[in-house]
């Protein structure tokens, strides 16, 4: 234990000096404050025991917050400025961002937006497809994930640890590799077709823009994110509650629907949100397993990003903005839920 602690300390000491990346006011003001703190502590010891300077804890959060202000809030603002800016077609379709809100013009943004509903509405299909795929994939994720999580939490006695490790392992395998693996399996002369040939389904080109392949890929990619919160929640349900349900005369099925499911409801909702958020922005699943016939919202963004010459950057910014609005509600819902759970704990 002593050795471990020592090691922990050295690790900590390695870690702290690396911290000063962005401007960091934390370490420097401490010395001058030290004497004053001692005086104050002596006086206020009865109430709180220990006294910290008022800026002490806030200063810890400064580097991280500054980083996020520059690398999270600022980019979002620039995206808005580009989306509500202009396109300079004489300069190879370069984006001309309008940084001041009172200059914002909505002409280029509106022309992107109108592709969803007017004219040939070329963006409408990918949008609807995204909703369909996300819906289908998250329903499959929920049903399959619930079954697996339920089994692992309640019945997997001896092998629980092993199953858990296997359930977690997809997290450590690159998403791209997992989808790439399917690309090989689903190839026209790959193993899946080889298996299907005897039952007369051989030579199916699964990779030629089939919705079912893309949905399968989405489920495959994101279902671990569904299973783990479900497992954590189902694992916490006390057996005595289920026994109480049975003792009061409910059937196994009734106990499941009236006790287990309501108790796991927060995890179900959290799982759905965790799974759908990245699905909305997914583009590589379709890139590897589908075609333009199955393109999703994320593909619109990447296509525009590559079409710099025709004002693609501005269109990209507009699409990112539209996607952000779509995912805003589930995102805020998830944050509210996690905060409520933290407060309950």
């Amino acid at each position: 234990m002593d050795g471990d602690q020592g090691r922990g300390l050295t690790l900590a000491e390695i870690d702290t000096p690396t911290a000063p990346a962005p401007p960091e006011p934390e370490p420097e003001p401490t010395p001058e404050r030290r004497p004053r703190r001692r005086k104050k502590r002596a006086s206020s010891k009865e109430e709180s025991g220990v006294w910290y300077p008022r800026w002490y804890w806030p200063s810890f959060t400064v580097p991280g917050t500054l980083f996020l202000i520059f690398m999270f809030i600022l980019p979002v603002y620039v995206v808005i400025s580009v989306a509500f800016g202009a396109v300079d077609f004489r300069n190879f379709g370069a984006a001309v961002p309008y940084y001041a809100p009172w200059w914002w013009s909505f002409t280029t943004f509106n022309s992107t937006l109108s592709k969803f509903y007017s004219g040939t509405h070329i963006y409408l299909d990918p949008l609807m497809r995204t909703f369909e795929y996300v819906l289908a994939a998250s329903v499959i994720c929920l049903v399959l994930g619930y079954a697996v999580a339920y089994y692992t939490a309640r019945f997997a006695t001896k092998y629980k640890g092993l199953i858990l490790i296997l359930l977690i392992s997809p997290f450590w395998i690159s998403y791209l590799m997992r989808i790439y693996a399917w690309q090989g399996l689903l190839d026209t002369n790959g193993p899946i077709n080889w298996l299907l040939r005897p039952i007369g389904f051989g030579d199916t080109n699964f990779l030629a823009g089939k919705s079912i392949t893309v949905i399968m890929g989405l489920v495959y990619g994101y279902i671990p994110f569904m299973i783990l919160p479900l497992f954590a929640s189902l694992d916490r349900i006390q057996e005595s509650l289920l026994e109480a349900g049975r003792d009061l005369g409910a059937s196994g099925r009734q106990t499941f629907w009236r006790v287990t499911v309501p108790l796991s409801r927060p995890a179900i909702l959290a799982g759905i949100v965790i799974v759908t958020l990245p699905m909305f922005g997914d583009y590589y699943t379709n890139d590897l397993l589908g075609s333009t016939k199955t393109s999703m919202f994320g593909n619109l963004i990447t296509t525009q990003r590559e079409a710099v010459q025709s004002g693609g950057v501005t269109a990209t910014a507009s699409l990112v903005l539209i996607l952000s609005v779509i995912v805003l509600v589930p995102m805020l819902y998830y944050l509210r839920e996690t905060r409520r759970q933290a407060e309950q704990a």
């Binding site: 300077p53 999270f72 089994y151 690159s174 790439y180 090989g184 995912v327 995102m331």
Partner: protein, 300 residues
């Protein structure tokens, strides 16, 4: 519940395994096994095909180390493009860990002890960066670096690094905070009652207590950055700054050979090594049960 009282009698007739709580749940068991096979077999097969003798990654043509070491141009060992990608991948991962984990740890400590409106806003911002779809953050940063910061930070390694930190910084915050909640402020208070300054008590008491969580963050952030594709792809400039994940992606879209499988396997090996090492160390340091470590990891 009065309705429910009549149920048991009926249940004897209708219930399959739902009726008998002690019956083995064969259907669920089969589903779970099928799921696990479905979720892991493709990866195993992809790894196996990195040893394929032919160019195909779907038809087996015999075992060889061709795509790993022996082929003079197209093997992982000798392909210069792959080597650049590997170096870039690990460089970015290590640097991201070195910056994101300390930043996140400090942030977590601060936010855990500081209760105020700005603290809540900062925490909200942090969690927002955790849930935002990666494409939104990645493409927003792409636009930032090509528009506003065009002449300051052009696309390339620096931009990739900043993007990765922005996407990863919330992991250590969440892990370290969870650990802080279970530690409580008592140890530090004790240290300070014994005469330590706040800084001393953090360095000598709190950080060692947080070591398991920090370690877990290191492993997690490293593994996640090695695998990262969206952010890295959005912010890379030339082929020199392409990572393994990007190579896999572009090869998968054109003409993949088992070399790609080998590259992906390489990524997997490093990730698993780091995670496995982290988990072992974590268990030693925290003196936790295996389940404790696994569930701590699982919470993400």
């Amino acid at each position: 519940m009065s309705v429910a009282l009549e149920q048991p009698r009926e249940q004897v007739k209708t219930g399959r395994y739902f009726g008998n709580p002690w019956r083995r749940p064969r259907f669920l068991q089969a589903t779970t096994i099928a799921y696990l096979l479905w979720s892991l077999l493709p990866v195993v097969i992809a790894i196996a095909f990195s040893f394929n003798d032919g160019r195909s990654r779907s038809a087996w043509q015999g075992f060889s180390m061709r795509w790993w070491t022996t082929d003079p141009t197209d093997s992982l060992l000798h392909d210069p493009a792959m080597r650049t990608a590997m170096i870039q991948t690990y460089k970015l991962s290590i640097l991201t860990v070195l910056i994101a984990v300390p930043l996140g740890t400090l942030f977590a400590i601060g936010i855990d002890r500081w209760h105020g409106r700005p603290a809540r806003s900062a925490n909200f911002l942090m969690l927002l960066s955790f849930v935002v779809p990666e494409i939104i953050l990645g493409v927003s940063l792409y636009i930032l670096f090509t528009a506003l910061f065009k002449n300051v930070i052009p696309l390339g390694t620096n931009a990739q690094l900043l993007g990765l930190i922005a996407y990863q910084i919330s992991y250590p915050v969440i892990i370290v905070r969870a650990r802080l909640l279970s530690i409580g402020p008592e140890y530090e208070e004790a240290a300070m009652d014994l005469g330590a300054t706040p800084n001393q008590s953090i360095r000598a008491v709190l950080l060692p207590l947080l070591a398991p969580a920090i370690l877990a963050s290191v492993a997690l952030v490293f593994a996640d950055t090695v695998d990262d594709f969206v952010t890295v792809a959005a912010l890379s400039s030339t082929s020199d700054t392409e990572t393994l994940a990007q190579k896999i992606y572009s090869a998968a879209r054109s003409s993949p050979t088992p070399e790609v499988n080998a590259a992906a396997t390489m990524m997997l090996i490093t990730t698993l090594l780091v995670i496995g090492g982290g988990l072992l160390f974590y268990r030693r340091v925290a003196k936790h049960q295996g389940g404790g470590g696994a569930t701590d990891f699982a919470q993400l």
